[in-house]
C-alpha cells in the first residue's frame, strides 16, 4: 500500500492561503489504513481548521467528503462535483489522488498529505517502506527483502562496511537490509545464493526510464466497446 502522513497543520494553513471555502476530501483506501486521510482524519482536520478560522475570524467554510478511492476517475469525479461551490479542494489522498481529482476539477486541488512510499504497517502506528518499485523484481534473489528500498545505498551484492549488529550506519533505528537478507537466506537454507554476483542493474523499468506506463492490451477497450460501456452507465 501507499504510505503517507498528514502535513503539519501550519503548512496546510499556509497552503490554503486566502481561500475561504474548503472541501476536505478523504480517501478510504491506503491513506485511511495508514491513518493519514480516512474519514476520521478528515473530521479531525476539519475541526482543527475550523477552530483556527474561528480564533482568527477568518470565516472559513469547511465541508467534508470521503470516497473509496481518489485514484480512480469515477471517484475523483464525484469529489470534484461535490466541490462545485468550494474555492479549493484539500485532498487527504496520496499524490496520485490529488492528480486524479485535479484532472477533472475546475478549482485548485491542494495536497494535505506527504506521500512517502510503498510499504506497510509493522505494528499499529509504525509504517515501513518495503518496495522500491524498480520495475524488475529480484526478491527471489534476496531472501524476500528489497535492497533497493531498504538498503540506504540500494546495494545489490551484500552489506557495505557500515553494517554493525544488524543496524545501518545512517541511523541506529534502521535495520541493515543486507543483514536481514543474510539472516533470512540462512533461515531458508539458501546462503549459497549470496556468492552470485548481481551485475549492474537495468534501471530502464524504474523511474530512471521516465514516467512509467503499463498497457495490458487484452484489457484495453476499443472505441466501440467504450461507447457501449458509457451507454450502460
Amino acid at each position: 500500500m501507499i504510505i503517507a502522513e498528514r502535513k503539519p497543520i501550519s503548512e496546510i494553513i499556509s497552503i490554503i492561503g486566502n481561500n475561504k471555502k474548503i472541501l476536505i476530501a478523504g480517501c478510504r483506501s491506503c491513506a485511511s489504513v495508514c491513518m493519514a486521510g480516512g474519514d476520521r482524519e478528515v473530521a479531525t482536520l476539519s475541526e482543527a481548521l475550523g477552530l483556527y478560522s474561528d480564533l482568527n475570524s477568518l470565516g472559513w467554510e469547511i465541508s467534508e467528503i470521503s470516497k473509496e478511492r481518489q485514484c480512480e476517475k469515477e471517484w475523483a469525479r464525484e469529489i470534484a462535483e461535490e466541490a462545485s461551490s468550494a474555492d479549493v479542494i484539500l485532498s487527504l489522498g496520496c499524490g496520485v489522488g490529488v492528480q486524479f481529482i485535479q484532472e477533472v476539477s475546475g478549482i485548485p486541488v491542494f495536497p494535505g498529505l506527504n506521500t512517502s512510499n510503498m510499504g506497510g504497517p509493522e505494528e499499529q502506528g509504525i509504517y515501513l517502506e518495503k518496495c522500491g518499485g524498480c520495475g524488475d523484481c529480484t526478491l527471489h534473489l534476496t531472501g524476500g527483502i528489497c535492497p533497493i528500498a531498504r538498503c540506504s545505498k540500494s546495494m545489490l551484492n551484500g552489506p557495505c562496511g557500515g553494517s554493525q549488529n544488524g543496524k545501518c550506519e545512517i541511523n541506529p533505528d534502521t535495520q541493515c537490509a543486507w543483514d536481514a537478507i543474510y539472516q533470512n537466506l540462512k533461515r531458508l537454507n539458501c546462503l549459497e545464493m549470496l556468492s552470485e554476483i548481481i551485475p549492474p542493474k537495468n534501471w530502464i523499468p524504474s523511474r530512471s526510464g521516465g514516467p512509467r506506463k503499463i498497457i495490458r492490451k487484452e484489457m484495453v477497450l476499443s472505441e466501440d466497446e467504450k461507447k457501449i460501456k458509457e451507454g450502460l452507465e
Binding site: 549492474p200 542493474k201 537495468n202 534501471w203 530502464i204 524504474s206 530512471s208 526510464g209 521516465g210
Partner: protein, 298 residues
C-alpha cells in the same frame, strides 16, 4: 580569471566553439583540435558525455585544452552527479584554472550507450547555478559550510528558444539569470524568425542587460544531417527551405557553410546578442573558416 568574461564585459562580440571529447583514454585529439581553434575563438566548450555516450571526461578534456593555451568551458550535467560531486568537481576545476562552467541538465541516458543506467538529477540545472553562485559569492558550500578558498567561476547556462512552450522559454531564461548565470549559449539557430522573436522578448524584459547571450550555430554537413536534426534532435527546428537547399545542393558542405554564414550575418543584426557559439560536430576543422567568412575577428 576568465578571458571569455573579459571579452563579454568589454562589449566585444565573443566567439566560442565546441570540442567533443573522444571515446578514448587519450587526449591527443583534443590537443589537436584545440591547436586548430587556438587563435580564432575566445573559449571552447568541452561537452560532458553528450547524448549520454561515455567519453573522456569534460574535466580532463578541459585541462588538456588549457595546457594547449585554449580557454576551456567545462560542461557539467546534472544527469551523472549529485550536489556533492558537483561542488567537489567545481572546486577542482577552479584550482586548476578552469573557471568557465556551463550548467546543464544533460541528455537523458536513454539516448546513449548506457541505456540501463540510473540517472541522478539530484538537482536541476537552475539549482546547480544557485549552488555554484553561492560557492563563488559567499565562499560556502550549499548548506553553509565555509570554504578555505572560494572558487572563481564564470557561470554559463543553456537556453533553447525552439523548445516548447515558447512563452515559458524567456521566463526560464530569467530564472537562470536570477540563479547566477553570467552567460548563455543557445541551441543551434536555424529558424531565425523564431530566434528574433525570442530575443525581442528577452530585450523587452531587459534580460540582455543582465546576461551575455551567445547564439548557437551549427554548420550542416549533408542533407541526411539536416533531416536527422529536424526529425530526431528534440528542440531543434529546421525550416523546410533549408532542408530543400541541402537536398538540391551540388556541394552540400559548401551549402551548409553558406547557410551557417547567412545565419551568423542575421544573428549579428539582432539586438541583445553578444556572440556566437559554433557547434561543428565532428567538424571542428571548419570553425576557423566559418569565423573568417563571417568576419568575426578583428
Amino acid at each position: 580569471m576568465s578571458h571569455l568574461k573579459d571579452v563579454l564585459e568589454s562589449g566585444k562580440f565573443a566567439v566560442t566553439a565546441e570540442i567533443s571529447p573522444p571515446k578514448s583514454a587519450s587526449c591527443e585529439t583534443i590537443r589537436k583540435k584545440a591547436a586548430m581553434l587556438k587563435d580564432c575563438v575566445d573559449a571552447v566548450n568541452l561537452t560532458d558525455n553528450q547524448t549520454a555516450i561515455v567519453r573522456i571526461s569534460s574535466f580532463a578534456s578541459s585541462l588538456a585544452c588549457l595546457q594547449e593555451g585554449v580557454e576551456p568551458i567545462l560542461q557539467m550535467t546534472c544527469r551523472d552527479r549529485n550536489r556533492i560531486a558537483m561542488q567537489s568537481d567545481v572546486l577542482g576545476a577552479s584550482a586548476f584554472g578552469i573557471h568557465n562552467v556551463m550548467c546543464l541538465s544533460g541528455d537523458h541516458q536513454s539516448f546513449g550507450n548506457q541505456k540501463e543506467a540510473k540517472n541522478v538529477y539530484d538537482v536541476d540545472s537552475i539549482q546547480q547555478l544557485m549552488i555554484f553562485n553561492k560557492m563563488r559569492l559567499e565562499g560556502q558550500v550549499w548548506g553553509g559550510d565555509e570554504l578555505k578558498e572560494k572558487p572563481e567561476l564564470f557561470l554559463g547556462a543553456a537556453a533553447n528558444p525552439f523548445a516548447d512552450p515558447f512563452e515559458f522559454r524567456v521566463q526560464r531564461l530569467a530564472k537562470k539569470i536570477a540563479a547566477g548565470a553570467d552567460f548563455i549559449q543557445t541551441q543551434a539557430v536555424f529558424d531565425i524568425e523564431r530566434f528574433r522573436e525570442f530575443m525581442s522578448s528577452v530585450c523587452d524584459r531587459g534580460l540582455d542587460k543582465k546576461v551575455h547571450i551567445l547564439a548557437g550555430v551549427m554548420p550542416l554537413k549533408s542533407y541526411n544531417m539536416a533531416e536527422h536534426m529536424k526529425n530526431n534532435v528534440s528542440g531543434i527546428t529546421l525550416p523546410d527551405g533549408m532542408i530543400s537547399r541541402m537536398k538540391s545542393a551540388a556541394d552540400p558542405k559548401e551549402e551548409g557553410l553558406a547557410i551557417c554564414n547567412e545565419t551568423i550575418e542575421e544573428i549579428k543584426k539582432i539586438k541583445g546578442v553578444h556572440g556566437v557559439h559554433i557547434m561543428a560536430i565532428s567538424w571542428e576543422s571548419v570553425v576557423p573558416r566559418i569565423i573568417e567568412d563571417a568576419d568575426l575577428r578583428d
